[in-house]
């Protein structure tokens, strides 16, 4: 029940790969990890959540905070690999309207059904 954040840079885009569970216990570490980059000018970031097994409002809070700060500095955040479960969280909170999110690909066509 831990959280791991891996980072690699590709074509000037910072790719964050988040693995594990995001809750009140793990969110502070995630926030800290992201905050190292949030103040960069024109940061291009992609956050892959395909291996996040659980997330609640603490995770949403971290991503919203990061999104706002990056946007203020002229950058862009894209969240990718959302499972149906995670997508639902963004949908019911209306954050899907504000943030750039992408659902998981190649998942037995389940995602296609919701298009």
């Amino acid at each position: 029940m831990n959280l791991q954040v891996d980072l690699r840079e590709e074509n000037s885009v910072q790719h964050f790969k988040v693995v594990g569970e995001i809750d009140a216990f793990t969110a502070p570490a995630l926030r800290e990890r992201l905050s190292d980059f949030a103040s960069q000018q024109e940061l291009q970031a992609e956050i892959d959540l395909s291996d996040v097994e659980y997330m609640d409002s603490t995770g949403l809070g971290v991503f919203v905070g990061f999104f706002k700060q990056v946007k203020e500095n002229g950058g862009h955040v894209k969240i990718t690999g959302l499972s149906n479960r995670l997508k639902r969280l963004f949908d019911i909170t209306g954050l899907n309207e504000v943030m750039d999110i992408e659902t998981q690909k190649d998942e037995g066509g389940l995602d296609d059904a919701t298009v």
Binding site: D23, A24, F25, Y54, D56, S57, T58, L89, I92
Partner: protein
């Protein structure tokens, strides 16, 4: 009128590392009642939100308290109570004292855990909140389909 139920109570230190432990327990209990995967995932989020709020309350007040999570397992539903004051509660008594949740009245609570409370409201079928010596959140989830009938019964509100 009162239906029989199994009652399980969990007391954890008001620390973030125990939110996940409580969540897993509730997941296991919900599975016993027979909820679907999606309903269980919803309940995991809703209960974590309530427990997180309780933990953050305790943290802010600098207390080393406990969070009490009470689960009543019925044939057709699960009732979960989360209290941020360490005293073990009498489930039936506390249940009587919690009132319906009103958006506008919960200003304080909303500002602190706004998104969390919204999620509880969305993911569970009923939510009630009680402020006394602490905050008690009381939430109910019905087994698939049941909530439709129940909603009709309580539509008078």
């Amino acid at each position: 009128m009162m239906q029989p139920y199994d009652y399980v109570e969990l007391r954890v230190p008001a620390k973030p590392q125990y939110v996940g432990v409580a969540r897993l327990t509730i997941s296991g209990l919900a599975s016993r009642v027979g909820f679907t995967y999606d309903d269980i995932e919803d309940m995991k989020i809703a209960s974590s939100e309530a427990i997180t709020n309780a933990v953050q309350h305790a943290y802010k007040d600098g207390e080393e308290g406990e969070v009490v999570v009470g689960c009543a397992l019925y044939e057709d539903r699960i009732e979960i109570m989360v209290a941020d004051h360490g005293q073990s509660f009498n489930f039936e008594e506390t249940k009587k004292s919690v009132g319906p949740y009103h958006d506008h009245e919960e200003g304080m609570f909303l500002r602190e855990g706004g998104l969390g409370l919204y999620l509880i409201e969305t993911l569970m079928d009923e939510i009630k909140i009680h402020h006394d010596e602490g905050v008690t959140v009381f939430m109910t989830k019905y087994l698939g389909g049941e909530q439709v009938e129940k909603d009709v019964e309580t539509v008078s509100s």
